[in-house]
Symmetry: C2
Subunit: 155 residues, 2 copies
């Protein structure tokens, strides 16, 4: 569980070699962002994971539960319970796939799309706050490098 | 819990807007790295978190448990249990602070430093593998942007 940090500016320990470890830097920046995001999403009864499922259901890409699990690095059972919760609230639906009619795809309802638009705008503000030390060009560069590290040059 | 992804190349869902969300990109790259790191560290009876405590104990910076918790974004109780475990194995020691004699600082033993050197070299190989899609200059740029996002221009 991430705790609120008492750090101001660069902490003393950042001078150690681990202050350059990509793994630690990714974990810290992600943890700091999650605190902001989950606080903002609480207004909508969502958390980061349920928002991710909702946003993919709104994407028009017709994801299956298996694809959601892969893409969000979650266990399939976690995805089932996130979709259950969103379905119960009338924000998403399980429907028959158009390409593969045996597959269940997850799509959003009109209510889900309305909720998504509002939550997305709150999250954009969080991302802006989280990256306030970077210029817009640097934030774009960070995004491009993360995509390239994950998915290669074509990403 | 991170699951082994079945993705090859850029997944279809990366085309959605969430495929550009810094939060999701950080989470995914961190999850992918953690799988590699924890697999490599298992050979030494360590995991990412215990390795982080060990490396800071080896840094010469004489961290307190409170500083470790802040820096590693962990609860103080988690740090106590990580230090307990490393101390039991003879890798670190709790000693009296030099500046503040009431504070307990965490330092490494000779055995701990030997273990750290071996584990560090395994982790360097993991980081290299994790960032294999990036050039060395791009990996350095990613590191610098993550540090700046976390700690500002002076980092």
């Amino acid at each position: 569980m991430a705790t609120q940090s008492t750090e101001v500016g660069t902490p003393r320990l950042a001078a150690s070699r681990i202050g350059n470890d990509i793994g630690l830097l990714l974990a810290k920046l992600h943890a700091a962002g999650s605190v902001l995001n989950n606080r903002a999403l609480a207004d909508f009864g969502l958390r980061e994971r349920s928002f991710s499922v909702l946003t993919l259901a709104c994407s028009g890409l017709e994801p299956t539960q298996r694809e959601l699990a892969d893409f969000l690095s979650l266990d399939p059972s976690q995805v089932v319970s996130l979709v259950d919760d969103l379905e119960r609230r009338g924000l998403v639906e399980r429907t028959q796939g158009k390409q593969d009619r045996r597959a269940k795809i997850i799509t959003s309802t009109a209510e889900g799309r309305k909720m998504h638009t509002k939550a997305r705008s709150a999250l954009d503000a969080c991302e802006h706050e989280q990256l306030s030390a970077l210029t817009t060009a640097e934030a774009d560069q960070l995004r491009a490098l993360l995509r390239k590290a994950l998915w290669g040059a074509g990403a």
